[in-house]
């Protein structure tokens, strides 16, 4: 079976995520309606689609954070419930949860990314500390390590979240909208960090509404609409009105929208995205 977006010259690598017929409900509403997707080691895959298309739900289901109501999914060949090598996964959630307001320093949050590699009762090792330091330097926050994360801007908080994943030195990164609400400076920083990870051969799955500066890094885009995959292959460069901000990407393979793309006139771009 040939997989879209994969170079046939390269032998098939280990499947990191393999979902088949994946269905998931949120509050009784079907969000994923039969998703088949396999992501192999070393790929950089963008999960794309309009708001509400099921992007975030898909990555959370791939990680076993929400249960499937149908179909199967495997993490490195094991169902998530029985998966044990969690150190291989670095999950970057959509935003930093500030919880009940107890402050945490940047270093504390980043250091918690080592948790899957640490054993109970063992104090942090030299390797732990070195990895945390490297992660802080990579995202450019080493000089602010003692600042509380609550005092940071959205973009800086996103860097902290990425540093937390980096600190764990995983094989696979799963990032939920790492570019959302991030200033241009942090976006460039993030793109540079991801480029390094790609060059190191890490697997990266990221949810994105639009690719922006990540465009050249992404080799494969999985586009969702209404809980099903409508495109799986090289990312389609935005052209013409597709490039307009606020435009919901609807691929030709998608079920026809209610108004044809030719008569549809994009209104003024919505304020936030």
């Amino acid at each position: 079976m040939s997989e879209p977006g994969r170079d046939p010259e390269v032998p098939a690598r280990e499947a990191v995520f393999a979902m088949s017929g994946g269905r998931a409900d949120l509050d009784g509403r079907p969000v994923l309606r039969g998703v088949d997707v396999t992501i192999r080691a070393g790929e950089m895959v963008a999960i794309m689609g309009a708001n509400g298309s099921g992007k975030s739900t898909l990555v959370r289901a791939l990680l076993g954070l929400i249960p499937l109501s149908g179909g199967t999914t495997e993490l490195y060949g094991t169902p998530p419930a029985r998966f044990r090598d969690w150190w291989r996964i670095g999950y970057v959630p959509q935003r930093l949860s500030v919880g009940g307001g107890v402050p945490s320093t940047i270093r504390e949050v980043v250091a918690s990314g080592r948790i899957a590699r640490q054993r109970r009762l063992r104090p942090a090792s030299a390797a732990d500390r070195a990895a945390v330091e490297r992660a802080l330097v990579t995202v450019g926050l080493a000089d602010r390590a003692r600042d509380p994360v609550q005092a940071l801007s959205g973009g800086q908080q996103q860097r902290v979240l990425i540093a937390r994943a980096l600190a764990g030195e995983p094989d696979t990164y799963v990032m939920d909208e790492p570019m959302a609400g991030v200033d241009a400076d942090s976006q460039r920083h993030l793109a540079a960090t991801l480029r390094e990870l790609v060059e190191e051969g890490k697997t990266i799955v990221l949810v994105a509404h639009e690719l922006g500066p990540l465009e050249p890094l992404v080799s494969r885009a999985v586009v969702l609409a209404d809980g099903v995959v409508v495109h799986d292959g090289p990312p389609v460069p935005p052209v013409g009105e597709h490039a307009l901000p606020g435009h919901d990407h609807v691929h030709p393979h998608a079920p026809a929208p209610s108004t044809g793309p030719l008569v549809w006139e994009p209104g003024p771009a919505p304020g936030g995205d």
Binding site: G99, G100, V102, P103, T105, S112, R120, L121, G168
Partner: protein, 278 residues
């Protein structure tokens, strides 16, 4: 005069108990506040009253029945929390009322219990702490601090973001139960000192005060325990001179500490912002 008081064994026991509670409650409280469960202690406190009453009714030590019932109550609360976003708070409210009403009812039915025993558990009676009580309190405090020491790193991740904890392979359900059960034990530890109705204050107020002044989680935890111990020992000492309920004095002192910390914190943050602007 103070020397004389310190020598009396009643006061020594009371001070030891106050110190242990001041140390334990805010340590657990830091995790509970971060997990947005500030009122968990109140809930367990209400349920624990039924446990105390069961002790009187059956002739068992009230502390033991309080431990059993409040641990069961805490696990029930955690299950309700985990189950649903909808209707969870009503379910919790029902549990709280049931706990208080059940406690008052059962104490009324027992021969040994009276309104004054009820009051002593609701608002604390630290000066009636026996040597045996002190051993129980010390044991519970050691268990609670042991949990914080062994599982602190994992609990930090859990309280920060449950999904990240899951995606890090942490035993999320076990840790959630562990926090609830540890809170229940803390409630029983603190029950004799500040009383079941004010237990939660010692888990929350010192943390709220500490986080005005600190920048990190570990620092908040340490500062909160310091706040807690100053409040319990200070409040208790005050009642040596003025005849008021120690629980109330301790909590009022903690609240005063919070007000001061809030003012200082505002001031420090404002000058910090000014620094970074200029």
């Amino acid at each position: 005069m103070l020397d004389l008081l310190l020598q009396s064994s009643i006061m020594q026991r009371a001070l030891m108990a106050a110190l242990l509670v001041g140390l334990t409650a805010p340590a657990v409280g830091t995790f509970i506040v971060q997990r947005r469960l500030a009122l968990l202690g109140d809930g367990i406190g209400h349920v624990a009253l039924t446990g105390v009453a069961l002790g009187f009714l059956t002739g068992t030590a009230p502390v033991l029945t309080a431990i059993v019932v409040s641990v069961l109550g805490a696990m029930l609360i955690e299950l309700v929390r985990e189950r649903g976003r909808t209707g969870g708070d009503v379910a919790l409210a029902l549990l709280f009322y049931g706990g208080i009403a059940g406690g008052v009812l059962l104490i009324g039915l027992s021969d040994t219990g009276s309104n004054s025993t009820l009051m002593s558990y609701l608002f604390g009676s630290i000066t009636s702490v026996t040597e045996q009580d002190l051993w129980v309190i010390a044991g519970l405090a050691a268990a609670v601090l042991g949990v914080v020491a062994v599982f602190g790193r994992e609990l930090f991740v859990l309280c920060q973001d449950e999904e990240v904890a899951k995606a890090s392979g942490l035993p999320v359900r076990f840790l959630s139960m562990l926090i609830a059960v540890t809170a229940a034990l803390t409630v029983v530890v603190a029950m004799r000192v500040v009383g079941l109705l004010l237990v939660s204050a010692l888990m929350v107020v010192p943390v709220a005060a500490a986080q005005q002044l600190t920048r990190g989680f570990r620092a908040t935890l340490l500062a909160a325990t310091a706040f807690g111990m100053v409040s319990t020992v200070g409040g208790l000492s005050y009642t040596m001179y003025v005849d008021v309920a120690p629980g109330a004095a301790i909590v009022i002192l903690a609240l005063a500490g919070f007000a001061i910390a809030l003012t200082i914190g505002r001031f420090v943050r404002r000058s910090r912002t000014r620094e970074s602007i200029s």
